[in-house]
């Protein structure tokens, strides 16, 4: 099965004159853990809400697992979603939440739910309103996981958590993915949250997709060039400058190139995922069309 889990064509969402998402074209292959990274307000939540059918796009089309988002009970059953801030019913207990999940999802796996709750050391009779932010996020993830979705979409799941809870949350998530081979889309404004777990990356800045692709391919096609100061325009063909910084004597460039850079006047280095994301995020002034890496 290689049809994309999420395919978007020219997807846009406007609120009056404000563009929340502009001309987003994506094809996410199945079986990936996708990191959706971008600064706050870049449009991550808008994209995810369109993907789960909470929002409808102003223009463009989207298919999730081959169907229109939230088009019916079968489609809803295939997609698990944990919204930002992990909303739960404050007055209901953890056990009530699990019963709610069991009553509203035909594919509900009570075993998975019970195991996770007991592994987390949570008391099922405790009210959700009394849980810490991390525990609430874990409860929301438990509900999303126990419905056994093919695609799990998590909107800033760890943003409000302390480092320990972050690690526990991501560990729990990874354990599930390893066991059930689901696809996951994780949004965060910090790449460091996702660096260790994702193998596919989408960088969203100012409502536009800046780059999207397999992490491996991205790392193999981006370089940091350091050398004597020079005009970035006379780089070898095929190399595209993502970020440049200059001192009086020296130029540092981050470039994208599908072929290895062979230029003796530069020191060529591989870059980290974090540097790559930061380079794309700082590229805001340049309204380049979205760049997709070749696979």
């Amino acid at each position: 099965m290689s049809s994309p889990v999420l395919q978007a064509e020219g997807l846009s969402k406007r609120y009056g004159r404000r563009e929340a998402l502009t001309d987003c074209t994506l094809a996410i292959p199945p079986g990936r853990v996708v990191g959706l990274v971008g600064p706050n307000g870049a449009g991550k939540t808008t994209l995810l809400h369109i993907a789960v059918g909470l929002l409808s796009p102003t223009a463009g089309s989207i298919e999730v697992l081959g169907a229109h988002p939230a088009s019916g009970p079968a489609q809803l059953a295939k997609v698990g979603f944990v919204a930002q801030d992990a909303p739960t019913y404050a007055g209901l207990s953890i056990a009530d939440h699990l019963r709610f999940g069991a009553h509203t999802n035909p594919g509900w796996d009570q075993q998975v739910a019970d195991d996770r709750i007991s592994k987390l050391g949570l008391d099922p009779s405790q009210k959700a309103g009394k849980l810490s932010g991390g525990q609430r996020a874990q409860l929301a993830l438990t509900i999303a996981i126990a419905k056994r979705p093919e695609l799990l979409i998590l909107d800033e799941p760890v943003a409000s958590l302390d480092p320990l809870a972050r690690r526990e949350f991501l560990q729990g998530l990874m354990a599930y993915i390893a066991e059930h081979e689901a696809s996951v889309i994780l949004a965060s404004h910090l790449i460091s949250d996702l660096e260790r777990v994702c193998d596919y990356l989408i960088v969203l800045v100012a409502s536009r997709v800046r780059v999207a692709g397999e992490v491996e391919d991205l790392l193999a096609s981006h370089y940091r060039l350091t050398g004597a100061r020079r005009d970035p325009a006379d780089l070898p063909p095929g190399a595209e400058v993502i970020e440049e910084s200059h001192t009086d004597r020296q130029s540092t460039l981050i470039v994208h190139s599908t072929t290895p850079i062979d230029d003796a006047s530069f020191t060529v280095e591989q870059i980290t995922l974090e540097d790559l994301v930061l380079a794309y995020m700082s590229q805001v002034t340049d309204p380049l069309p979205a760049l997709e890496t070749t696979r």
């Binding site: 939230a70 809803l76 909303p87």
Partner: protein
């Protein structure tokens, strides 16, 4: 979804059952006392002209402790408003406010089914609550309503029969709709109370009388029957004639004396016939010569059920439109 709706609505259900049971028990005791009084005063056994017996019964009732009767009467008016404010307005608004719609709409249940389940269960509970209360009040005040003949007059009519069910369902869907549009619980509750109160008042004040065409009677003014002549003091000396309607079991909408051309009779008194200087007999003779007529517009007692059905039907139709709008809006516009 059914279990979950019940789980969210459980506390309100127990409170409602408790309140209804309390009022029910008190009304049963009240009805027993009234029945005793009714038997003791031989109202049932009365034949022929029973005015005195009935008046005696009513004055005994007025002298007795009838707090629960008054309270239950008020409750029938209050319950639909309470249902709209406490069940209707928070139904969607609380989910939107807490963000839990993003949780519940991402389980394997469509929004349409989610809303349908909530509307049917909570709306059904609203109908049953209002219906039971109205039935208890209607039944327990049957003897009194028979004696007063006031069943069809607005204040009592609204707390009898099936209209309270219509008001409860209307108030509920109004609350749901406003909560959905306002998206915040407390403002939605306030808006529901304000709009519902205005709608209920308008219905009683301006709409109800037109739901069934009223009886319209015009008779020549019989000057020998009791009537009152009013002459205003001052320059204008305006004179009007009032005639009692003699319709004890009716809801009188209009009762006036009109001229032979159909105008309301009101003219400066001719001091030659009517006034302090002239005798009442002279005035009557002069009035009798003017060809005046007495016009009555009213709903007789047998309009009670046609009015109840028409009004309930109208309220249910509005509620159905509001519910349809809620379905459309949750599918298209709610995020």
């Amino acid at each position: 979804m059914i279990w979950f709706t019940w789980r969210q609505f459980r506390t309100q259900t127990w409170i409602t059952i408790g309140a209804l049971a309390t009022i029910g028990v008190l009304l049963v005791i009240f009805a027993w006392n009234i029945e005793d009084m009714y038997t003791a005063l031989n109202v049932a056994a009365c034949q022929g002209d029973c005015t005195a017996v009935i008046d005696n019964f009513l004055s005994q009732f007025q002298a007795s402790n009838h707090t629960i009767y008054d309270l239950a009467q008020m409750m029938v008016y209050a319950v639909p408003a309470l249902i709209g404010v406490f069940w209707g307005a928070p139904l969607i608004a609380r989910e939107l406010e807490a963000g839990t719609h993003r949780l519940v709409w991402n389980q394997s249940v469509t929004r349409t089914r989610w809303l349908a389940t909530k509307l049917v269960i909570v709306g059904g509970a609203a109908a049953v609550s209002a219906g039971l209360l109205s039935w208890a009040v209607t039944t327990s005040s049957n003897r009194i309503d028979d004696a007063t003949g006031d069943r069809i007059t607005p204040l009592f009519y609204g707390a009898r029969g099936i209209v309270p069910i219509g008001y409860a369902i209307f108030a509920f869907t109004l609350g749901v709709t406003l909560g959905m549009l306002i998206r915040r619980t407390v403002p939605a509750m306030a808006a529901t109370l304000a709009i519902y109160s205005f709608a209920a008042y308008s219905m009683q004040e301006w709409v109800r009388e037109h739901l069934v065409s009223a009886s319209h009677v015009i008779n020549p003014l019989d000057i020998s029957s009791p009537h009152t002549v009013t002459i205003s003091v001052g320059e204008a000396n305006e004179m009007t004639v009032g005639v009692p309607d003699n319709l004890p079991d009716a809801w009188v909408l209009s009762n006036q004396t009109i001229t032979d051309t159909g105008q309301v009779f009101s003219m400066p008194a001719d001091s030659q016939y009517c006034g302090l200087a002239a005798s009442a007999q002279a005035c009557d003779e002069w009035l009798g010569s003017l060809g005046l007529r007495h016009e009555l517009i009213y709903h007789p007692a047998n309009h009670f059920w046609p009015l109840q059905w028409a009004e309930t039907g109208m309220l249910l139709a509005i509620a159905a439109l509001l519910a349809a709008f809620c379905f459309w809006w949750t599918r298209r516009h709610l995020t």
